[in-house]
Symmetry: C2
Subunit: 193 residues, 2 copies
DNA sequence: TATGTTTTGTACTGCACGATAAAGAATCTG
DNA sequence: CAGATTCTTTATCGTGCAGTACAAAACATA
């Protein structure tokens, strides 16, 4: 029963997410946020309260869009489990190397920054990590039951190994242009399953 | 032929390195640096020129101390290669979980921050990555020739897989307290060699 | 149209930032 | 000791920061 917003909350969050993604929390200024969202200071603070609160919302937005999409792609379906996991890694290599800003993964970036290692942000990041671990474990269990993957290791352990290599891969992709080096990681990791 | 410094350059670099390590580049203020080094602003700027130049020097210092020590520990010697690699990972898990500030690895942190993905810092980080890759490849080659490790993959590829898992492990250790999950990464990775 | 509520734009606050200037103190050379 | 040179200290610079105050504008309800 009052004046309605002139902007879409999710559109603003998407824009803010992009900036935090590219520059990190500390290096992003409120002016950056105003410019990329098109909002004035007043509107931003009225809607989100503080830079840090907006950061939290941006992380949530990341989880419910990009990360959720990734989990969906990992859900068991027909076809080779090995290929699915390989595709996940190779697709990320392509995306990362293509990206001029070398932003990598927002959740990983958040985990590295001091601002993301405590409080609400840390919990959000932790849950994203757990969700991926779980999805990988389920998929690997399916592959094992199908006789496609080695059963010498429990699915959860294999999932954790894969996840770790995957996160390392994305970190390596931030500073290297050596595509072959990254593909070696993929080959070595997939072969271990 | 003038007044000598009242401080040791390396001691100051060590102190600065600690702060950058804990808070990252952006979140570290010049005042932080003054407080932890015990120097005044004037002295700091006279000796190092700028915050960013000091950051670069701190990264170099990290490479020539911590990272160099790690490479040394990986140099081929008697004993099981598998155990050496396992010890490397387990020791890092213990250190990371013990560390209240959850600083992780300075080079990895630098790679994640925007300030470390370009220019001189990026080159320094890249070289640290390459150095570790090389040391791992040599050690793994030794293990393969000794018949201790599988020869199904070239040493360089195995090294890259291990390195990636190792970096992922250190990233995971930043937000989780689940020691077993981290040890699963170790077991899975070592078993793949 | 009148009223109440929310949003929006602008100006502003106080503060901390990175960096500098200048003067005095300490040391070396001769 | 005299002079040159470098380091240290203190005070300060201008800027940009996160956040706020407030009035005008836009809408919903009646």
């Amino acid at each position: 029963m009052a004046r309605p917003r002139e902007f879409s909350d999710t559109a603003v969050l998407d824009a803010a997410m992009e900036v935090f993604w590219e520059k990190g929390y500390e290096a992003t200024t409120t002016q950056d946020l105003c410019e990329c969202t098109g909002l004035g200071r007043g509107s931003l603070y009225n809607a989100f309260g503080s830079k840090h609160a907006l950061y939290e919302e941006a992380i949530k937005r990341y989880a419910s869009t990009r990360a959720a999409l990734q989990l969906q792609e990992l859900a068991p379906a027909g076809g080779s489990v090995r290929d699915r996991l390989r595709d996940l890694m190779v697709a990320m290599i392509d995306l990362d190397l293509e990206d001029r800003g070398r932003r990598g993964c927002l959740a990983l970036n958040a985990a590295s920054e001091a601002a993301g290692r405590s409080g609400e942000v840390a919990s959000l990041v932790q849950r994203q990590f757990k969700d991926l671990e779980e999805a990988l474990a389920v998929l690997i269990a399916v592959g094992q039951h199908a006789g496609e993957l080695s059963t010498s290791r429990p699915p959860l352990q294999a999932a954790r190994m894969f996840q770790s290599a995957y996160y390392g891969l994305r970190t390596l992709a931030k500073v290297t242009d050596d595509r072959q080096a990254l593909l070696d990681v993929v080959d070595g990791t997939i072969a271990a399953l």
